[in-house]
């Protein structure tokens, strides 16, 4: 024992003169750090996708409906409710939050006597920390999800305008799995899809490389999977939660990824080909997506289905309105052939009213599904429209689909901003023309698919926005035509619709083209329905107003497709057909089962 050892401990006294370490007041003296993982907060950006619930390993989060929440597209109406008898403040929910609405405050004190009290719905319940500005939020450079879409191989612009080969090459298996892997499987998209396809489920099938299961899932709601995998308007992708911080999942391409991996020969084996006849007959007018979809689902339930088609081939607008570089004929045939192989009879070149009276159909069949589509191009109704060099967009597409030369010449103006206009423009490019698209509104108002707009521009179609055609005049040469158009000012629509263009008379332009292709919209033609029936059917503007299950005032008559909905796309027509098939079944059997 040394003297030093004896004395040294007394050094402790030196610290007695130091400033005390003690915090005077609890809570107030030392708020949580700026990054503190305290109690949860949620902003109005939340769309209730439930990904937080999925990742929570403590099952601390419930998704609950919130009263008084405004109904929004792509919003489930649910909000996360936290159980603070479970939460461990790991903040994985904050990290995974697809909209970044969820975060944490630096508030951490919650003391009560009641163990049942530790529940609250973040963002909607009034909590003391709702205005807190500090607290944990995800770092910008830290991700638990993959935000970039996997690119699909596509033809370059130069290659693609050189012919009618399909532009998008489809995902390889690896690409498809990687893309499918990005999905959080929340299911927000299902409500937005007109056909309510089981999107998360079939994406999971892609991820698991189980294409047979995937195909079965697709066919539950959509017998045009090969088609929709290519040209669907994919409303689902507009609400995809991955789109909030990155690219939405390529849902459409993943659908195609399934179909591309199942050869047509295996469809009957995978999906089954048994039909138990139930002895009833249903007629379908129009072999487009709506009609054939109804035919498919009716046939599966045992109905004898006859489809009447005025054209020489089935597919309707998919065949005659969608060029083959977007939807190759064989892919459309893949869908159609399987439906026909189940025993659906299609009578081609048969016009209702001309070849077969409507009255006969409605009397002969137990029920009738009508989906004739909109096939009458709207006229421009401007001066000089009758000029022979003014063509209709639908006519051009029909010609090309049927192998005829539409004779567009080498300098073409296309009027319109829808898919038909884009297709007409791109077809004209492929026929070697120099194409200008005149559109009354702005590019962001165009109803065409963004991809189509983008691709058409990449292929060299020029776009003139806010150009209102005013008059068509003869040009110096008879093989040419001159168009007069004026610039437009956009004015806002006070009801929240898309802005409307107003002609500026003082800013007019004139230009001469080899032809003008008008594609400003289409209407329907229903003259074949005799007046006695028509009086019992409800219409609004130029469309049917179907009742429950697509039924009309004429109980035997069910309608669907472009002629009966405002969305006018293939997937809506398909859903109408499916829905009507159920309606017909219910109408004839009194039940939805079977």
């Amino acid at each position: 024992m040394s003297l030093k050892d004896l004395i040294s401990p007394f050094y402790v006294w030196q610290r007695a003169f130091e400033k005390p370490y003690t915090q005077k007041r609890p809570i107030e003296d030392r708020p949580g750090a700026p990054r503190y993982r305290g109690f949860h907060m949620n902003s109005e950006d939340c769309i209730g996708c439930g990904t937080c619930e999925t990742i929570c390993q403590n099952h601390a989060i419930d998704m609950v409906p919130v009263e008084g929440l405004e109904q929004r597209s792509g919003d489930s109406g649910l909000r996360p409710r936290f159980d603070y008898g479970r939460c461990c403040w790991c903040a994985l929910c904050v990290d995974i939050c697809t909209t970044r609405s969820l975060r944490m405050s630096n508030h951490y004190a919650w003391i009560t006597e009641d163990p049942d009290a530790f529940h609250f719905t973040a963002g909607t319940d009034a909590m003391p920390w709702n205005q807190n500005s500090l607290g944990y939020r995800r770092d910008d450079d830290y991700h638990l999800l993959v935000h970039e879409r996997i690119d699909m191989q596509a033809l370059g612009a130069e290659e693609s305008v050189a012919g009618f080969d399909e532009v998008m090459k489809g995902y390889t298996e690896e690409q498809a799995v990687l893309e499918a892997d990005r999905c959080v499987e929340c299911g927000i998209c299902v409500a937005t899809c007109p056909a309510h396809m089981a999107i998360p489920d079939y994406i999971r099938a892609v991820r698991q490389r189980d294409y047979e299961a995937g195909l079965r899932l697709l066919y539950e709601t959509n017998p045009f999977s090969s088609t929709c995998g290519r040209i669907c308007t994919h409303r689902c992708e507009t609400v995809c939660v991955m789109g909030y911080q990155g690219d939405p999942i390529a849902i459409r391409w993943l659908k195609r990824a399934i179909v591309d991996r199942v050869p047509a020969e295996r469809y009957r084996e995978i999906l089954g080909d048994e039909v138990v006849e139930n002895g009833r007959k249903v007629g379908v007018i129009g072999a487009g997506p709506g009609g054939m979809s109804a035919a498919y689902y009716l046939r599966r339930q045992g109905y004898a289905v006859t489809v009447y088609e005025s054209q020489a081939r089935a597919g309707g607008m998919l065949r005659y309105g969608v060029p083959s570089y977007r939807l190759p004929d064989d892919q459309l045939d893949k869908d159609l052939e399987y439906i026909r192989s189940l025993g659906v009879e299609v009578k081609f070149n048969t016009h209702i009213g001309r070849d077969v009276p409507f009255r006969q159909l409605i009397e002969d069949y137990d029920a009738l599904f009508l989906a004739v589509g909109l096939n009458q191009p709207s006229a421009l109704r401007i001066q000089g429209e009758e000029h022979p060099r003014v063509l209709s967009g639908l006519q051009v597409l029909d010609d090309v689909a049927s192998g005829r030369d539409p004779g567009v010449g080498s300098k073409v103006a296309v009027i319109g901003g829808g898919n038909v206009a884009m297709d007409a423009a791109r077809v004209s490019r492929r026929l070697g023309a120099d194409v200008t698209v005149l559109y009354r509104r702005r590019i962001e108002d165009m109803p065409a698919d963004p991809e189509e707009i983008h691709e058409s521009q990449a292929e060299g179609c020029k776009l003139v926005q806010q150009a209102i055609p005013v008059e068509i005049k003869n040009a110096a040469s008879t093989s040419q035509v001159t168009i007069v158009w004026g610039e437009a000012e956009m004015i806002a629509d006070d009801k929240g619709g898309r802005p409307r263009p107003v002609l500026q008379e003082d800013r007019m332009h004139e230009e001469t083209y080899d032809c003008i292709i008008a594609a400003i919209g289409q209407g329907g033609q229903l003259d074949f329905i005799p007046a006695e029936y028509r009086d019992r059917i409800e219409f609004k503007w130029n469309k049917f107003v179907p009742g429950e299950y697509q039924q009309t005032g004429l109980p035997k008559l069910f309608v669907g497709g472009d002629i009966a909905n405002s969305r006018a796309d293939a997937i809506s027509a398909i859903e109408d057909g499916h829905h009507a098939a159920r309606g017909i079944h219910r109408f004839l059997t009194g039940t939805l089962d079977g």
Partner: protein, 187 residues
Amino acid sequence: MANPIELLQRFGKNFAISEIHEQKADLTFFKVPKEQAVRLLRELRDDAGYTHLAFLTNIDWIEKGIFTLTYMLHNYDARHSLGMHVDLERDNAEMQSIHGLWAQAATYQRELREMYGIRFPGSPRLDEDFCLEGWDQIPPMRKEFDTAAFSLERFYSREGRGTEDPREHMKGLLYPTHTDEPSSGGQ
């Protein structure tokens, strides 16, 4: 000191060593039959310098009907670890005890007895409770034991919870007529 592969090949003359897998520079796994395991452990410890038993544990391969014991040995001089696998039948699993080689192995064996039901005859305090007390179920680490179901059944969960699936909720809210039928296609 020879490299681990050579070492295992050398031992392979006397032992049925299989499934050699070099996971990384300082970690090699291999398998040996149950009967030879303890003898090999002793030789590895005494002759090859693998003096440190890092741990002894078990993997339940329920679908194959086997337990795989893993003995993790370490050689301080060579700075190398060996993971030795020994397969046991899952039913009535039994293994020789190594508490004579490493004292702490007795504790591991006690734990394996409790958590998987593997017997190590002769191991001290083997059948005493280790972590559990009054356990009346199958050993909890066995794959067929469902801990969540058991917890719910015995310890309950607090009332007042309930969640909804966004997809189903939206279905009920936005397109209820589509909810009630079994789909007709693609079955």
